[in-house]
Symmetry: C3
Subunit: 128 residues, 3 copies
């Protein structure tokens, strides 16, 4: 169910895929998402036609390695679970993609069980 | 008011437009959205610079025909209305775009009346 | 903290950057966002591979100058603050980017303090 958008500036081939893998494994490990519950939109921005902006808010020195991870998921995870998720995304983004933790930005948006259709025109989390 | 994002992998010309039409007509038919309340961001991903990931979660066999439909709308629709919306999006996506229902993924995010500005710097749903 | 997505059709160079600046300054002026709290994803659509759709809903005559501004932010701003934000975005989009106010569309999505990780794997708004 989580729908994940990852936006980064274009760089070496394979980085975006590695970031996608990092976020997906972090979701599995920390929130118990099933491995095949894998839904991602991965975009590398060319820096001209489309681009990213970032500041040093909270004294974090960000640079062009910035990665925006936006996750839509059902409400119900505790702050502790979310904290674990953020920590693991940052760790795996560094391990798999060489992205420094200071450049990993995550925002969650929660919705309800009736807000998902996972194929075949159904509303699977509320039946039918 | 609904703001609709549709993301698919690039394929034959016209598919994205057909998907946009399918979602828009489904919103009109099932939620009573006015026909000119039509706000969509349609993106075809090239599969390299930007791409989509998907799994077979809930035993739905998805493939590169996957379509992500993300709709932001005001809170207040019942689960039954949402269920009707999903069913109709899947039907029309197949009819207009040849997209199989198993490949149609929809996620809704709700907000409130003060969360919209529909032009001219106004907050039309709360006055002024 | 606000994460801002701006989507427009490709036009003259610099327009997207000007729109980003307009939205950022409006957030600073009306919501009191710190200047370095600057997180944006700016996309110019080519009109073929990716594109925008729009209608004349509420009798606003929109055209290919349409700009979609989607802002994710923590809950808590009053309708009055949001109203001020919309007004200022429209004013500055016109001043900086030459975009007519009728073409400025804004949607907000709110979340909670635990829904943000602003780098280093932390959950800064809830501690640690």
């Amino acid at each position: 169910m989580p729908l994940v958008r990852i936006d980064a500036l274009a760089s070496r081939p394979g980085r975006l895929e590695a970031l996608g893998r990092a976020v997906h494994e972090a979701l599995i490990e920390t929130l118990g998402i099933p491995p095949d519950d894998h839904f991602q939109i991965l975009t590398a921005h060319d820096g001209t036609r489309s681009t990213l902006r970032y500041g040093d808010y909270l004294d974090v020195a960000r640079d062009e390695g910035i990665v925006y991870v936006a996750i839509t998921l059902r409400a119900g995870r505790t702050p502790d679970r979310k904290r674990a998720l953020y920590r693991r995304i940052a760790e795996l983004a560094e391990e798999y993609a060489g992205t420094e933790p200071r450049n990993v930005f995550v925002a969650l948006t929660e919705n309800g069980p009736a807000d998902w259709s996972l194929g075949n025109g159904g509303a699977q989390y509320v039946g039918a």
